[in-house]
Amino acid sequence: MSNPFRLPMAPRAIRNLFSKPATRRYPYEIRPRFDGARGTIKFDVDTCNYCTLCAKRCPAAAITVSREDRTWAIEHLTCIGCNVCVEVCAKKSLAMSTEAKHVHTHAEVGPQGQRPGHEEWHGADPAIAAAAAKAAAELSIDAPSS
């Protein structure tokens, strides 16, 4: 039996008196996340070609893509942050940012059943997009002559 009068925690306790606290004052002081930490998915509406591959591969079925309507939507609260969609996207339209997932309160759900964490993009209609591109091209051709 070891000596009950020895105080094995004493050196530690004395050191703790003079050292910084081990914890942060959380909401006022937030540790920045490390590079490469997985946080929220960022979507780039301009490069996506609505191939639906990300939606097919997402293990949590958090992504819905419609090729006809050219919409891309994600449920951030369903996403498990596995990074698979980023890996499969050939167009590099998806990126994993280190930003932590947004915290939603119960009040946000609301009586009408709003969907917190739902984010949706609508791509321009290809016909409109093509017309806009054509107009822009014409403008730039016209520009020097005027």
């Binding site: 039996m1 020895r6 094995p8 930490a37 293990p59 990074n83």
Partner: protein
């Protein structure tokens, strides 16, 4: 004498997890303990018929929040053996480095919980402060603190650069030094000895008879460790399992403390032995669908885990099963609880390091 039945759990202050035991008491002595499992059964194994085998890895990882890396790794190893995928060397080394880091994490977590259970909250904080550093290493290298999602069938998704590896080893060395101070408290503090020493003794013969696994068996002197089989590159490093002979609660604490030190040493060896360089291949993508069946064993922090996978050539597996270490240790726990004092029950239960979410999946 009149018998009383005291329900222990599913809500109990010492254990965050819903372990259910009915303790049959005669005065203060426990005569019998009847476990009930299935309280948090989530049916994860049955998900194989709805989740494709490529995505199932993410489900398997979520069997448990402490061994999540090893669960993911075990699943991938099983599928790789069925599909005969050759995993690149560096990926194999990275996997076991992460596995050992997660062993340190798990043991620190447990030592903290153990301290909390016998009322030493201060020590609990110290253990968890060290564990936090390990979680930082995980967040830096895998992107996630608890769920890492780096294992894929055929390799790993992320590399750790050589300089980063050296930094990690240095950091673990620092952690090892800080751990010594805490380990001294565990080994010498009179109140801890009083609560743990000689309590819940599992003899070597009993440990073999009830098929205890992991630190539980090693604390009773049974030389049993899946890493001894030399799979997963453990044959290329010097490894000898930590053994204690006392078999009591204190021995189980000591085994885990020594395993923390041992894991730091193993990581040293692994970093020395692994192939170095930037841009080495990390993944060989499997082709087609798996067909066949396999068993894979792995040494998790709590003991041996066994995965059984049966695939039938479609993208859905036919059967997946995980036999987790706590499941194997429950008979040993029941054996120890019988005949002890009611006041010792929480300590005994905690020293088997129960993970109920693993057990019930």
């Amino acid at each position: 004498m009149k018998r009383t039945i005291v329900p222990f759990g599913p809500q109990h202050p010492v254990l965050a997890e819903p372990l259910v035991l009915d303790l049959v008491l005669e005065d203060e002595k426990v005569i019998d303990a009847i476990p009930t499992i299935g309280y948090i059964h989530r049916g994860l194994e049955a998900m194989v018929d709805r989740v494709e085998y490529t995505e199932m890895g993410f489900v398997v990882e979520r069997i448990c929040g402490i061994c999540s890396f090893m669960h993911g790794m075990g699943y991938c190893l099983a599928l790789e053996s069925i599909m005969s995928v050759e995993v690149p060397d560096r990926a194999r080394w990275l996997r076991i480095i992460w596995a050992e880091i997660s062993r340190i994490q798990s043991h620190l977590l447990w030592l903290g919980l153990g301290a909390d259970a016998f009322g030493f909250e201060n020590l609990f904080m110290h253990c968890w402060r060290m564990r936090e550093e390990i979680l930082d290493i995980f967040e830096k290298t895998t992107g996630g603190r608890i769920i890492h999602s780096v294992n894929r069938i055929g390799g790993v998704k992320r590399d750790i650069s050589d300089s980063e590896l050296i930094a990690i080893v240095a950091r673990l060395d620092g952690l090892g030094k800080a751990f010594e101070a805490t380990a001294r408290v565990f080994a010498n503090d009179p109140s801890i000895r009083h609560r743990m020493s000689g309590v819940g003794v599992l003899s070597m013969a009993d440990a073999r008879a009830v098929d205890a696994v992991g630190p539980m068996a090693r604390a009773s002197g049974v030389r049993m460790d899946t890493r001894l089989a030399g799979q997963n590159l453990y044959d290329q490093i010097e490894f000898e399992p930590v053994l204690e002979t006392a078999g009591d609660c204190l021995a189980r604490v000591v085994v885990r403390m020594r395993e923390v030190r041992q894991s730091i040493d193993l990581i040293h060896q692994m970093v020395d032995k692994m192939p170095k360089g930037e841009g080495l291949p990390l993944e060989n993508k499997p082709r087609g669908n798996p067909s066949g069946e396999t068993f894979t064993r792995l040494e998790q922090p709590r003991g041996e885990v066994v995965y059984y996978v049966k695939a039938n050539g479609t993208k859905y597996l036919e059967r997946f099963r995980a036999r987790t270490p706590t499941f194997a240790n429950i008979p040993a726990m029941i054996k120890l609880v019988k005949g002890c004092d009611l006041a010792d029950v929480p300590n005994i239960i905690l020293t088997i390091d129960p993970c109920i979410s693993c057990t019930e999946r």
